[in-house]
């Protein structure tokens, strides 16, 4: 297990101003696994996700305690550049948020500016779009605005955009909550596919989705990690009553 750990949290506390959003979280995320974070609204799962690529830095008045080790190094150490972290840990947001640029430039944007691309940018764009299973739909309109795409296509474009940076980890914050069932199914298939090459950590409000796509599931409640185990176990025989209540829809 230890060998396949990619991220390790040690006694992480997180505060927005004086209110505590996460309490003593210690957990590990497995490499090339899909880990689902579930729990009722406001339980801290999105906060935790945004801690992993230091997106919470953007909010004034937040404070982190404890350590988050990525490849054995604390990403909150003073000498760590958050920009560097975000390059390796990509993110897909709740609402599709393509740039008001062409489809091509949406993908090329990151690699161009960070200078990580090796070789041909055209090839990288094609590769990324193929990985996100969007290539066939957009290959003839690469120079059209990404804003013309449907919501589901936009979200896959955002995934492709993140993949173009060749990240180690892909964080997904309720990536299908704004999409219709067909687009959702497509993204779920995509996650299944991406799992081979990437570590995926996904926040979801959809129990079935967590059960379908994840290997491990963590249940959060009011800033605490209540239960963390194999998805099968969580959804069939959870150890904690609260988890069972939530999964079976008794609260949440």
């Amino acid at each position: 297990m230890e060998i396949n750990t990619i991220i390790k949290l040690k006694d992480v506390n997180f505060y927005y101003g004086s209110s505590q959003a996460l309490t003593d979280i210690s957990m590990t995320f497995g490499k090339n696994k899909v880990t689902a974070l579930i729990g009722p609204s406001g339980c801290g799962k999105s906060t935790l996700l945004r801690l992993l690529n230091r997106m919470n830095d953007l909010i004034d008045g937040t404070r982190v305690e404890g350590e988050i080790l990525f490849e054995e190094k604390n990403i909150y150490a003073p000498d760590v550049d958050p920009v560097e972290i975000r390059r390796k840990i990509g993110m897909v947001f709740q609402k599709p948020n393509p740039f008001p640029k062409t489809i091509y430039n949406n993908i090329a944007y990151g690699p161009k500016l960070t200078g990580v691309q090796t070789g041909d940018l055209d090839i990288l764009v094609e590769q990324s779009l193929k990985q996100a299973v969007l290539w066939d739909e957009v290959k003839d309109v690469l120079n059209k605005s990404a804003m013309n795409l449907s919501g589901g296509q936009q979200q896959r474009l955002c995934i492709a955009r993140a993949l173009a940076m060749k990240p180690d980890i892909l964080l997904m914050d309720e990536p299908t909550s704004a999409l219709d069932p067909i687009s959702t199914a497509k993204i779920e298939e995509l996650i299944e596919e991406l799992k081979k090459d990437y570590t995926i950590i996904i926040v979801t409000h959809n129990m079935q989705q967590a059960a379908r796509i994840s290997d491990e599931t963590a249940f959060f409640y009011i800033g605490n990690l209540i239960e963390y185990n194999k998805t099968e176990k969580i959804f069939t025989k959870p150890d904690v009553k609260q988890t069972e209540d939530y999964i079976t829809g008794r609260f949440g």
């Binding site: 004034d60 740039f99 944007y109």
Partner: protein, 292 residues
């Protein structure tokens, strides 16, 4: 329980009609006043407008001839003011909205900027005289005038830029930053291009003001009369607003120059509108891709 009495439908409808008429009337009055002024200027000024009027310098103690040096001077000063005010204003707004921690200092700076917007233009003129003309020894020149006008329009530009920057969706910034793109690159590549149409829209107001102000250039740039055109930014220039002031108050023969005064006003209005038009064209060009 007390029964609740509704106003009759008729009464409510009547009130609605009255208020609609009131707001409609206000809009009408403003439109009428504006078109009245413009029409008055055109009727009185169009007579003197000719190619010679806009291409020749004044002659016969300004009672005859054209106003070409003043047109040119105003264009120089306005362009100069834009060149100084726009980059400085945008940069300040970027600092205030994107970089500075929102807190006491930022609030203090914003209050300062708002105060600056309320300072009478003649005070800017005196400041320009004291600081640029005398202290920095730029003399009465295009440079001093442009700097003074640039500072005059700074609050407008900062205000407009702040609003425009704030209206760029936070999700764009997050998307860019989440790719490991630096903050400056995000600001420069994503935030600023999307804010630019808004920045220009708001800045047009300031730019128009820069072209039309008299007091700030009176002591810092404008010449009563020069026969030669400026050779460098350290030369004095004639300028349309000051020329109007001179013709109307201190001319050799105020009555005789009346048509020239109106003609000059007409040209000034046209120059201001022309500058606005350029900004509007640039804005609509930039806006074509905007979709949020």
């Amino acid at each position: 329980m007390k029964s609740f009495k509704y106003n009759s439908m008729k009464w409510r409808y009547f009130r609605q009609t009255v208020f609609f008429m009131l707001v409609r009337a206000s809009a009408l009055i403003i439109t009428l006043a504006l078109s009245g002024i413009i029409l008055y200027i055109i009727v009185n000024g169009i007579g003197v407008i000719s190619w010679d009027f806009i291409s020749k310098p004044p002659t016969d103690a300004m009672t005859k001839g054209g106003i070409m040096p003043a047109i040119l001077g105003t264009i120089y000063l306005t362009v100069g003011a834009i060149a100084i005010g726009l980059p400085l204003g945008i940069a300040s707004a970027i600092y205030l909205t994107e970089y500075a921690r929102q807190g006491k200092i930022v609030r203090f700076i914003k209050v300062g900027i708002n105060c600056l917007a309320g300072v009478p233009s003649v005070v800017f003129g005196l400041f320009g005289l004291g600081f640029f003309v005398i202290f920095l020894k730029f003399g009465s020149s295009i440079l001093s005038g442009s700097l003074t006008l640039g500072f005059l329009i700074l609050p407008t530009i900062i205000g407009a830029s702040e609003e425009a920057l704030k209206s760029v969706p936070q999700t764009f910034r997050e998307a860019s930053l989440s790719l490991g793109v630096s903050k400056w690159q995000t600001t420069y590549r994503i935030v600023l291009p999307n804010a630019m149409p808004g920045i220009l829209t708001g800045s047009i107001l300031g730019i128009g003001r820069a072209a039309g102000e008299t007091a700030p250039i009176m002591f810092t740039a404008a010449a009563y009369f020069t026969s030669k055109l400026p050779g460098s930014v350290f030369d004095e220039v004639m300028a349309l607003p000051y020329h109007i002031y001179v013709l109307a108050t201190a001319g050799t023969n105020i009555e005789a120059t009346r048509p020239i005064q109106f003609g000059t006003v007409l040209v000034l209005v046209a120059v201001v509108l022309g500058i606005d038009l350029i900004a509007i064209v640039i804005r609509s060009y930039m806006r074509r891709n905007k979709r949020w």
